[in-house]
């Protein structure tokens, strides 16, 4: 049974075995070859890429859920050089739709630098502009003439956007295209809003694809601002600046029981969507938000703090009588009343009502410097309030022992001269009087939303500089003072407390004899204060007196507030609450 052709099978088997061995040998040789390592290293960049995922910047809402700062889609437009078929058409389209130079784009595409595969032509292109290019690219896909925009790439990403434009711009601040927050809330809470970027290795090989971790967006912030009250404050301020010829101004509306800022209007303002106009709008040292950053001598509005200190320390009572001769000497210097006149016998209500400098200087002298300045510091003067906005100014309260403090300062400080405060400091100090002695921390952040959970800010009492009894007494005095002296601030049907302040402006050569700062601080309804309003008009030209220019602005503001905040007149409100 010997097969004479068996040798053929043996030869075939041998050849196949040789071939198999050869393949195996070659596989091992290639793996072991030193060049193999070089190829592996060369291949590394194509394995995947380190990609940084930036979370969407957190949104900012007002207290009623209206979006104040959000994000919108914009495009990065670039060219994938390996996919370009018609460089001239790409360059032409870029020059027409993106305003780029034709020759520059053409050179970028046709003569790229070594190892460059992708060229960015433009970034932050608005969707309406990018859409035209996308449409044109699609139209030219199978164009018989050979024109093509193949290779153009459109990479959408998010950019900060402010739907309300300039509304509350001084409070919100802005975010640049690089994602950095400046001023206001955007700067103060920048890290919270920005979130945490995550850098991951993303393999090109789909076999190695892994689940991306959830990248949470930045925290969403809800502000205490009320969009409608903010708009009303800004309109009222703009109107007042025009009516009274003031250079600039501030209106702050705060809930004196919680410290929530309902509105903070200042000038100038800017459309936050055009933040690059900042330098044209805020010329020189113009602060972004005067309400917190610009200290000034407030004048007679500070008398409410002096009187609060005098009453609380027991130096005077509302019935204490003072004989006003029109002049008092303090620290060797003469102090006169605003009108230069002598007002005769006055009780303390009369002193406030007629805003008598001499009387308030006397109360400060009677208290003594230590007691007076202790109270002023307890009211927060000379320190930042800590409000959650970037760029707060601490003002200046000179103290005995300072190089530039003189004994006469005790007298002048008592009526708001020689002391520099910011409007927000006066608002915080005023809250102690409005709120039964409890001074609240002014804040703009109402709540923070992160991981689907909302965390509300709680009211913080930062001090009790005066007793509830003192606050009650002073409220009564200010109600009487407001109803008699500054009737332009009164709002029929509502019991309000308030005080005007007309302050001369210090210059390098003494006080300016012509120009003033006009201020007003007031709150209401006095038995259950829902709002505290601070007005400051810088250098009004229509009248130098706060009672003529700031008091009417207070009234206009309150007339709108009672509507927007649903505060009925006192008689109806007391009827609804059972006269409590």
């Amino acid at each position: 049974m010997h097969n004479p052709h068996a040798w053929r099978f043996s030869v075939l088997t041998f050849l196949l075995a040789l071939l198999g061995s050869g393949i195996l040998f070659q596989m091992v040789r290639i793996q072991a070859d030193p060049q193999a390592r070089a190829w592996l290293v060369e291949h590394d960049p194509y394995d995947g890429a380190w990609v940084t995922y930036y979370p969407a910047r957190g949104e900012i809402y007002d207290r009623n859920g209206n979006l104040l700062a959000g994000n919108r889609t914009i495009y990065e437009i670039g060219v994938d050089l390996q996919a370009v078929r018609d460089p001239e058409s790409v360059a032409l389209a870029a020059s027409i739709y993106l305003g780029l130079d034709y020759n520059t784009v053409l050179t970028q595409i046709t003569q790229p630098a070594d190892d460059v595969l992708y060229v960015v032509l433009a970034d932050h292109v608005p969707p309406e502009q990018a859409d035209k290019l996308i449409e044109l690219q699609q139209v030219l896909v199978n164009d018989p003439s050979g024109q093509s925009l193949a290779g153009l790439r459109f990479v959408p990403h998010l950019e900060r956007s402010y739907p309300e434009g300039a509304l509350a711009s001084n409070v919100i601040g802005f975010t640049t295209r690089e994602g950095q927050g400046y001023y206001g809330i955007e700067e103060k809470y920048d890290s919270l809003l920005a979130g945490v970027p995550v850098t991951l290795w993303v393999p090109s090989d789909p076999n190695r694809a892994e689940e991306l971790p959830d990248i949470p967006p930045g925290a969403t912030l809800i502000l205490t601002l009320d969009r409608q009250i903010q708009a009303a404050a800004e309109q009222t301020l703009d109107s007042a600046l025009q009516t009274y010829g003031a250079r600039s101004g501030v209106i702050i509306v705060m809930d004196p029981q919680t410290g929530e800022i309902l509105a903070m209007a200042t000038t100038p303002r800017m459309d936050l969507n055009h933040y690059w106009e900042y330098e044209q709008i805020f010329i020189g040292e113009t602060p972004f938000n005067r309400a917190i950053s610009q200290a000034y001598e407030p004048g007679s509005v500070l008398k409410i703090l002096t009187m609060a200190a005098a009453l609380d320390s027991g130096t005077v009572t509302p019935d204490t009588v003072f004989l006003d001769t029109g002049t008092i000497i303090v620290g060797g210097g003469y102090i006169h009343n605003w009108d230069g006149g002598a007002w005769g016998y006055q009780d303390m209500t009369g002193c406030l009502q007629h805003s008598l400098n001499v009387c308030l200087a006397w109360t400060a002298v009677e208290m003594g410097a230590d007691v007076f300045y202790d109270y002023m510091q307890n009211f927060g003067l000379g320190h930042t309030t800590g409000i959650d906005l970037a760029g707060e100014n601490p003002g200046r309260l000179k103290l005995p022992g300072d190089n530039d403090w003189y004994p006469i300062d005790l007298g002048t400080n008592a009526f708001g001269q020689g002391v520099a405060v910011t409007p927000i400091q006066m608002v915080m100090a005023g809250s102690a009087i409005a709120n039964q002695g409890r001074m609240v921390y002014p804040h703009v952040l109402y709540a923070m939303v992160q991981d689907g959970q909302q965390r509300n800010m709680s009211t913080q009492i930062v001090g009790r500089p005066i007793s509830p009894e003192t606050a009650h007494l002073l409220n009564q005095m200010l109600v009487e003072s407001l109803s008699n002296e500054t009737s332009l601030a009164s709002v029929p049907g509502y019991t309000l407390a308030g005080k005007t302040g007309t302050a001369q402006i210090p210059t390098a050569y003494g006080y300016d004899p012509y120009q003033t700062n006009a201020s007003f601080i007031g709150w209401g309804p006095v038995d259950d204060p829902r709002f505290l309003v601070y007005i400051w008009l810088e250098r009004p030209t229509a009248s130098p007196w706060a009672s003529q220019v700031a008091a009417p602005v207070f009234r206009q503001m309150v007339e709108q507030l009672v509507v927007l905040m649903n505060i009925p007149p006192d008689d109806i409100r007391l009827q609804a609450t059972g006269g409590e």
Partner: protein
Amino acid sequence: MDNVTGIARKVQQAPWRVQRQWLGLFLLGLVVVTLMAGLHLNITTRTALAGRELQFLQDEILNARRVNADLETQLANLTSYSTMRERALAMGFHPARADEILYIVAPGYQPPAPVNLARSAPPAPVSLLLPAYRQSLLEWFSDQLTASNQTTTR
């Protein structure tokens, strides 16, 4: 002894049967290897497809989030204070004055509270990948055994 050797030679299989057995064994091995290679190819392909789908879905999620943020901002633009005010004025409305408002005492009335943007319940962490794409065969066996034990003990 010679008889025994003779019997062994007589029952020894024919050479062609031995060859056929070897060939059968070889073919069996070939079939097994082919099956394993086919299975491996199938799983690799499905994994690759799933990987691509995963990458695609992740891009879709990021895209949906971006579009959502954009739409939210567009909506806010359309309902901004200035736009709404202009629309209201154009429709003949004007801001209410205090003397135009009639207040009615409504027992139990609660003024509206500030907005609450919290989700009603925090979302449970959801994995995008099915266990089949994350588990080894041993882990899968272990899970199945655990599950069957739990079922039988109930």
